[in-house]
Symmetry: C2
Subunit: 463 residues, 2 copies
């Protein structure tokens, strides 16, 4: 007899089958005992009145690994409308102690800290594992979309020689007696690889030694990175990103309906607007001082609604009475307001803020040729929280030399990066999506750690 999954019972009604999994719950109602078996996919109910059958479970507590053989019967009262009867039971691996907190209640009844301390067991809770299954679904959909668009996956090194990107907030590693660092992002490598593959993506860990402890940050997270060449400007990147996000959400709805339902997820409003006249007629951006020649007309492109950074600040001033004009960045509460505004104005849970000031963006950011104080970069807010950062990058060797000089950086740590730029790079850009942020905002979680498999922060390196 083949073992079947708990999610396959309806396909085998009236047959005798074997289930294997964890004893999720055992309770008696008078003479009838109900055993819930949880396997890697779902939960099924087995029922018996036979004391002999039950005796096999003697001494086995919740989470014991068990085997149930029985006949599948349709039963409207049972979870999923089916249950196993006429059962025999067997314990494959007994558990003798109760878990640190119950795993069979509708929600986890533990503080976040206690939960995280025992996450190696706590993640078995159906709601907790549903979050991580959505993470897997996001990664899969991200890759399949980009594979279809001619992107090539790379896995760039995480051990790097210099703290190059910003010079701060990097973890130092003892590398055979020399000093190395953990990569804050695959930014340089994905740009370099545009010179090889033209279109690349990477899904992997990034490391930020930021000492602050917020509900929206951890020190190691998973970044979904893409970068591609022959773009028109940052709008080309935003158009692709819009399609990536829509694809991911469509695939989640298809493949993970059970998880979305269990977590009461309200799917995001996804209204897009046609790209504005300005974007449609914008030329391929060949460099800061190049004369714009219309080349690639973006026609019929759909984008999430967008707002220039300047206009966002003006809006916050007019609508919420807070004067942040002159600040080089948006505060978290301003982002939340913009999220509400986009929802009310565009019926969209996503909003691009474009044109951030150059002073707050990294040196490789492409300035706006028409107003070089501002950049061809963007953030994508999801329900009022930054989910993605991206933009057009510099691509001319001379522009890099000038930008590094302006930033006061030495050239030597950037030698290999600059070599790629020297030997012909097309106009290019890309973005980085925070995986855990995506799950957090999608599921309305209050802390990023709930969406993170074994989070790392200033206080926590285990489990």
């Amino acid at each position: 007899m083949e073992r079947i999954r708990t999610t396959q019972l309806r396909e085998h009604i009236a047959q005798r089958v074997i289930l294997r999994g964890w004893m999720h719950n055992l309770r008696a109602l008078g003479k009838i005992s109900f055993i819930l078996v949880r396997d890697g996919y779902g939960i099924a109910q087995a029922v018996t009145q036979d004391e002999n059958a039950l005796s096999a479970l003697r001494g086995a507590r919740d989470e014991s690994v068990i085997e149930v053989e029985g006949v599948i019967v349709a039963e409207a009262q049972a979870p999923g409308g089916v249950e196993l009867r006429d059962i025999t039971l067997r314990v494959l691996a007994p558990v003798t102690d109760p878990p640190p907190f119950p795993l069979n209640k509708p929600t986890v009844n533990a503080t976040l800290d206690v939960f995280l301390d025992h996450a190696t067991v706590g993640l078995r809770h159906p709601r907790k594992r549903a979050l991580l299954r959505l993470s897997a679904g996001i990664m899969r959909a991200f890759r399949e979309f980009l594979d279809g668009e001619g992107f090539t996956e790379i896995q760039s090194p995480k051990l790097v020689a210099s703290a190059t990107e910003s010079g701060a907030n990097v973890f130092a590693v003892d590398y055979f007696g020399k000093r190395a660092f953990l990569a804050q992002s695959p930014q340089f490598y994905k740009q370099i690889m545009v010179g090889v593959f033209e279109r690349v993506y990477e899904v992997g860990p990034v490391f930020r030694a930021e000492p602050h402890d917020t509900t929206r940050h951890t020190n190691e997270y998973v970044s979904l990175d893409a970068e591609f060449g022959f773009i028109e400007n940052h709008f080309t990147v935003m158009a692709l990103l819009t399609r990536v996000i829509r694809h991911i959400l469509a695939r989640l709805a298809e493949r993970h309906a059970a998880e979305l339902e269990l977590l009461d997820v309200k799917m995001p409003m996804l209204n897009v607007i046609a790209s504005p006249a300005g974007a449609k007629q914008s030329p391929i951006n060949l460099g800061i001082d190049s004369s714009p020649t219309p080349l690639l007309a973006m026609t019929g492109v759909e984008l999430f609604p967008h707002l220039h950074f300047r206009d966002a600040q003006q809006l916050i001033f007019e609508k919420y009475g807070e004067d942040c004009r002159g600040e080089p960045d948006l505060a978290p509460q301003h982002e939340r307001w913009l999220g509400q505004w986009a929802r009310a104005t565009y019926a969209s849970d996503f909003l691009f803020v474009i044109g951030y000031p150059m002073s707050k963006r990294p040196f490789y950011t492409h300035p706006d040729p028409a107003d070089p104080k501002y950049s061809y970069s963007f953030d994508l807010l999801f329900r009022g929280t930054e989910l993605v950062t991206g933009g057009q990058r510099l691509h001319r060797h001379a522009d890099y030399l000038a930008a590094l000089a302006r930033a006061g950086y030495p050239l030597e740590p950037f030698a290999h990066y600059l070599e790629a730029m020297k030997y012909g790079m097309p106009p290019h850009g890309g973005f980085a999506i925070g995986l855990e942020r995506f799950v957090m905002q999608l599921c309305g979680l209050s802390n990023l750690r709930e969406a993170t498999l074994f989070p790392r922060d200033t206080h926590r390196l285990t489990p």
Copy 2:
């Protein structure tokens, strides 16, 4: 006019199109000039006799980013049987210096060290980028196969609190003034997550601070990890792995024919044998001292040929005259001999060596209940080099306590791992494939670094 890819020319014969890419080569044959354009996908030829058209390229060297507009004409002499004529040219990003070595010769004419020093440009060479495209193809096929088998992807933390798995060869990280380490493998996490998802995989970087410098090792590489529960024994794992490898090779042949041809790859011999009688009748292995009860009969399972470690040593003694009986491991040349033997005997480029001595395997390895000096572990040799390591793991809490005590390890660093084992783990096992090793052996490379995107070794942290 839309830009098309160089690989799409045959679909647009007689049409006027735009190509964008890198100037791979420019040569004159009398009055006729041939321009090779390389984009992210392939190479196309453009031809002109018009000095005016050519003048746009003045001063632009190889690797300049260019645009070619022209009419596609079938031409038997041209690469791919088509070429662009009646062209106009434009330079999008000029290059003024020759690259560190030519990128347009059939092979790279540079020592490995020089190549690696300039890899940010050198990887543009068609043969070099073909290797990395095969890497991407392997990762994609690995994931799609396991997705189809009900596995869930995880991304486990790379920053860990203790140097747990072996206690040696780990990189230390300064983590906010505390000491952390880089994970040598996702081993503990993937086992823990079997308790959650039952079947999991991870593709990601692993870090080995091994000070030796060989052609088959680097200090950071990409590991394709899988782990799953409710196995019979290590043969269940070997059966899945056989299918994974066959799937990957079939997808490569389908999707990457151009790369395989360019690299003159001889596809591996893939003969499988039916699982032997011993494996067919072997019981689910519920622990070292459990009485075997036949439960899951592996019937009709196909496996790459396998050989017990003891028999491998005997074979090496008889056939090659070298007495390694008594040694706890196989030397690289012994593995090479076994590879030749498997090829001659089974017409297979893959050979499982099973049952390695417990003394050379990590503490979580499941011993052979019939002879506990040996283990339920395996290596998979690919053309005589270790490609995969795997096996059945311990799953009972008590067995872990005993194994750690035997190894003389303290319990505390393993507390979280042990907690997962305490709360019900099924018999489980898994494996880890080295991505770069796979490409190296498939393509017959003499050094793992040639298959690695920006390798890290004791001498090299850049680019």
